[in-house]
Amino acid sequence: MAVVFQKPKSLTDDILTYCPGCTHGIIHRLVAEAIDDLGVQAKTIGVAPVGCAVFAYNFFAVDMMQAAHGRAPAVATGIKRVHPDNVVFTYQGDGDLASIGMAEIMHAAGRGEKITTIFVNNAIYGMTGGQMAPTTLIGQVTTTSPYGRKEELCGKPIRMSELIAQMDGSAYVARASVHDPKHVLDAKKAIRKAFETQLSGAGFSMVELLSTCPTNWGMTPSESLKWVASDMIPYYPLGVYKDSAKGAA
């Protein structure tokens, strides 16, 4: 019997701990497929964040480290400097990367650290119960912005891909989404390109993925997917923000 569909080798058999309708699972699969496709499973070391993806060390079938909140790019820097020929990636959420870990991600990009960051932006703190993130949209209700995020109080959401693309050390920066099959395929290409950029030694690479949080958004899974398209993408435009192989987009 021909195998027409199977789990990537770079995912373990562990059951994912994500909520129903959350798109972390799709993103995990895309990362694992990229590692498989490039044939680098045996030399990949991943760094898990603090947040919903904290258990990523159970899910990726590669050597893994768990980092303190926001510090994954610094941990990845230490690993990469010891093993420059390995493939090193961080998997981080928006609270982890764009709030408490802002210094670490900016300086990793600034140094042109030859690592790949998978940045999952769902506009909210998921693991801790739905608090406001730096990426939370204006007007979005969270447990710490119960009247909706107000610009005069909190400023506007931070667009990380645009920021990182400005750093001379970044070589590939793209924002993708996984809310429908077409965009999943685009996201897969971007993730693969990011890992290829690391392998080429060109510099820092990051893919920001717009993701859902039905539990904390208070929506059904299908409503969440629609909200990504209707509300998130207009503020967080998709596309390649930097590709050093082609010049800035």
Partner: protein, 362 residues
């Protein structure tokens, strides 16, 4: 082997390199700057990596990554920077990663001063970060001893899969002394099958982690850590004793202060006061047993520190109320003079009037 005249900070850095340390991540702060400066010059010469991090927080997390990847790695700082590193140090302990952390102490609290202090004793010996843990702490009292203890620290870190602290004060870091630097030392390189180096499927996957979400599993992890700490306590305590056997008064002091106290007890002896000294070389494990033993014969103890009194807690625990434990300390970056310590010894021996702190100069 010729002796070299070296600044304490530089000697510590060179000792680390000769102990096989090839990765250093740090951030500028006085009075430890000569360590990263020296490393930035030497690491490229020996094929190692020096990286100036964007913060102390990042530096300790780079150490976490490099240690988890199996490397001999070090960072250094001073009080305010060590405070920033505490999050990472707690993670290093939880994930059982070996590394060496140098703290060249300055006056505190807050920004404090840049002058010598021993005010970080509690922070170093009580864990310092969140959670239940201890870290081995070496306290050199000379540049030469800083060299040997730095090298021991790397071996101990690997042996116990733990961070190890070398706790100097600004005086140790800044002063120059002749040191023996062996061209090559015996490095106890241990296998690190737990390290993350890339998984080829022939061994269990490496997972460097301090998260155990199930409380029963986390309790087992804690029990295992406590057993390790007990093992360190029973095997690694180190101290020096001088003129203790017949001493009526035992001075307890470490680091720079021990050198000052040494001069003071010798002067006291010349005056007929039977003074001796116990000098902790490891602050944790603390030399409780030798102090407890001395409490059987000595009449009193005098703890001297460049702090408002921190190590005195450990001395009192060891003496357990059997004898008086007196204290003399200076703070803020002030270093006690020999005559001040001698005066305190005279008071303790009943040979000077405590109401008159301005006894004749010696």
């Amino acid at each position: 082997m010729a002796k070299l005249l070296m600044k304490g900070n530089e000697a510590i850095a060179e000792a680390a390199i000769r102990a096989g340390c090839r990765y250093f991540f740090g951030y500028p702060i006085t009075p430890q700057n000569q360590i990263p400066e020296y490393m930035s010059k030497r690491m490229p010469q020996v094929g190692g990596t020096f990286l100036q991090a964007e913060s102390e927080v990042s530096a300790i997390n780079m150490v976490y990554g490099a240690a988890g990847a199996g490397a001999r790695v070090m960072t250094s700082s001073s009080g305010p920077g060590i405070s920033l590193k505490q999050e990472g140090i707690s993670y290093l302990v939880g994930a059982q990663l070996p590394c060496v952390i140098v703290n060249i102490m300055r006056g505190g609290p807050g920004l404090g001063s840049i002058q010598p202090s021993q005010g970080d004793y509690y922070q170093a010996t009580r864990g310092g970060g969140h959670g239940d843990y201890r870290i081995p702490v070496f306290a050199p009292s000379s540049v030469g001893e800083a060299v040997t203890l730095t090298q021991k620290a790397f071996d101990m870190a690997d042996k116990y899969r733990s961070p190890v602290i070398v706790l100097g004060d600004g005086m140790i870091g800044q002063m120059m002394e002749p040191v023996d630097l062996p061209d090559s030392i015996e490095i106890n390189n241990v296998d690190k099958p737990w390290a993350a180096v890339g998984w080829d499927g022939t061994r269990p996957r490496a997972i460097i982690n301090s998260l155990y979400i199930d409380p029963s599993v986390l309790e087992r992890h804690n029990i295992m850590l406590q057993e390790k700490f007990a093992q360190i306590e029973s095997a690694e305590m180190d101290y020096g004793a001088e003129l203790v056997d017949d001493a009526d008064l035992v001075v307890v002091a470490y680091g720079t202060v021990a050198r000052i106290a040494r001069s003071a007890i010798r002067m006291a002896r010349a005056e007929g006061i039977k003074a001796g000294m116990i000098r902790p070389i490891t602050l944790w494990p603390f030399p409780s047993d030798p102090i407890a033993k001395a409490a059987e014969t000595a009449k009193a103890f005098l703890t001297v520190e460049m702090s408002a009194g921190q190590m005195i807690d450990d001395v009192r625990l060891a003496v357990a109320g059997r004898k008086p434990v007196l204290f003399y300390g200076r703070t803020g970056g002030m270093v006690p003079a020999v005559r001040d310590v001698l005066h305190q010894i005279r008071i303790a021996a009943g040979a000077a009037d405590p109401r008159n702190p301005l006894e004749e100069a010696i």
